[in-house]
Symmetry: C2
Subunit: 316 residues, 2 copies
């Protein structure tokens, strides 16, 4: 595949949250060899349920790249069953977080690997190996880092805000628990500094990319890297493509727009890919000193994903 | 139901291993109210797999009494699926121990309850409550107690000897790891001392009943209790009804016979229920000072189980 200005054997680092990022990465690995790609994944959504370590963003990225994700639902594994979860419900457990039986093996195995002394990074690497992924998937940190949402109903885990309570509560503040201690996982800063291109995937800027940026030294590395840093706007036509980014941005007093996202990334961003529908924001974003590329950013088909990856990689 | 010599509202304590015990208990709860029954269950077979605390004998007893056991297989839950286990295999894990998806909920929940500070007894009580059991099910101990088999191939966990290696190795010795520390679970000694009848179920005398008897103060309680202590022979016609009792007994230099089992229980046993086919051993057993009752001990139907329970409870 020919890419304008693309030399090949360049290293690419992607900052990723959940579904939007996973879709983009699906396209990316069609355009460049998997082994040239490192993905730094948000772990602020990680949650302990039933004593199991669940990493929703790591899982959606791994499952998507492994081709086993349930694309209809946007989470979990295609064809999975829920027999264990149904039984946990009978045992009086809350079961608002959907865990399929196949999916569960990931959590059981990860939890056991960590219990036996491996870091989250090492456990992730084992899982990726078993799923035959050649992309390097790095959790942003090996430390416990928990995104909590302060709402009018109280301070809750992000998953509780999103899944259990359906993102219905008014957002007042966002807290990153563990932010003081969290060191970037080995390879995170190195891959940002050593890459030719860094891509900020079209993920929630507040609770997906935000946590990654808040891990020590990550933001500095993004500012200092010689890599071209590009981001794809997760806001199209004043709304997130998926998820509660609008509610979270509003809660923080931010306008819900591509421009608003560009401002959040302003200090390290070279190129911002916005949807054609947001053409009107181009000037304002360029005014931040950021190059703007307009394209179709809605990824419905594999072709959409591939096209978007090409746009990101081709030098504008 | 009329039982000769049975006064009603008597307390019954059963010492139990796996399948044989569970079948007998199924009959017992048809004959007496569940709430009069306490079951002390072997936990020497407990094993940690994938970081989960698995208690095979507790589970078979609970599942059988809850009416959900897979009777054909003799383990696990009827209609269970194995999607999680199949995935753990793909993740490179050994999967010789069969764990169904429904079954898994028990292990996940138990492990989590223990992790959160509950004892095995308390966790078991929660599970029993959820399964709506009125029988009191007690693990023999809250402590880690592990039955290991020294074979010509090395020292292995009992489950590894039985399930993984198919009980094919030559048995040389049996070790109870944790025997020094293991205190009886709260209620174990009390229920033996406070019962009217203690029944030693037709379980493996070496690795099911043996561990229970080896827990501190249990054997003394059996000797000192005013309860009538009855046992049902797990050996019929010189062979165990199920399981490797013959190989284990032979490995310890014991004859495989009802008489041989009676000798193991001689110091605390009042009544021994043997199968009619073992009639020839009656005299020898009586010679140990033990009353002998002959009956059909093979439990194929519910009627068989009920009949056996009646024989045990009726005063000879």
């Amino acid at each position: 595949m020919h890419l304008n200005g693309w030399k090949g054997e360049e290293m690419i680092t992607a900052l990723a949250g959940g579904v939007g990022a996973a879709k983009f990465l699906q396209g990316l690995v069609q355009v460049v060899p998997e082994k040239e790609v490192t993905v730094i994944v948000n772990t602020g959504d990680d949650i302990d349920l039933y004593g199991l370590h669940i990493s929703p963003d790591l899982d959606i990225v791994m499952y998507t790249l492994a081709g086993i994700v349930n694309e209809e639902k946007g989470w979990g594994i295609r064809g999975d069953t829920f027999h264990c979860l149904e039984t946990l419900r009978k045992y009086g457990q809350e079961t608002w977080f959907n865990l399929g039986d196949i999916d569960l093996a990931t959590h059981v195995h990860r939890t056991n690997l960590i219990k036996s002394g491996l870091t989250l990074l090492e456990a992730t690497s084992r899982l990726c190996q078993a799923l035959r992924l050649k992309v390097k998937v790095l959790p942003m940190t090996n430390y416990r880092f928990t995104t909590k949402i302060a709402t009018d109903k109280g301070l809750v885990h992000f998953q509780e805000y999103l899944v259990k309570r359906g993102a219905q509560d008014r957002v007042m503040r966002i807290e990153f628990e563990g932010i003081e201690e969290a060191q970037p996982a080995p390879g995170v800063v190195e891959s940002i500094l050593g890459s030719d291109v860094v891509v900020v995937c079209p993920s929630n800027p507040i609770v997906s990319i935000g946590p990654i940026l808040s891990v020590k030294n990550v933001r500095t590395a993004l500012r200092e890297t010689k890599a071209r840093v590009a981001a794809i706007s997760p806001i199209v036509g004043g709304r997130p493509i998926k998820g509660p980014a609008d509610k979270l941005m509003q809660g923080l007093g931010l306008e819900v727009s591509a421009y608003s996202v560009a401002r959040l990334y302003q200090d390290f961003l070279d190129t911002f890919i916005i949807d054609v529908v947001d053409r009107a924001e181009r000037r304002a974003i360029e005014g931040l000193g950021i190059q703007v590329i307009e394209t179709n950013t809605i990824m419905k088909t594999l072709e959409d994903k591939v096209q978007l990856a090409r746009v990101v990689l081709e030098r504008g």
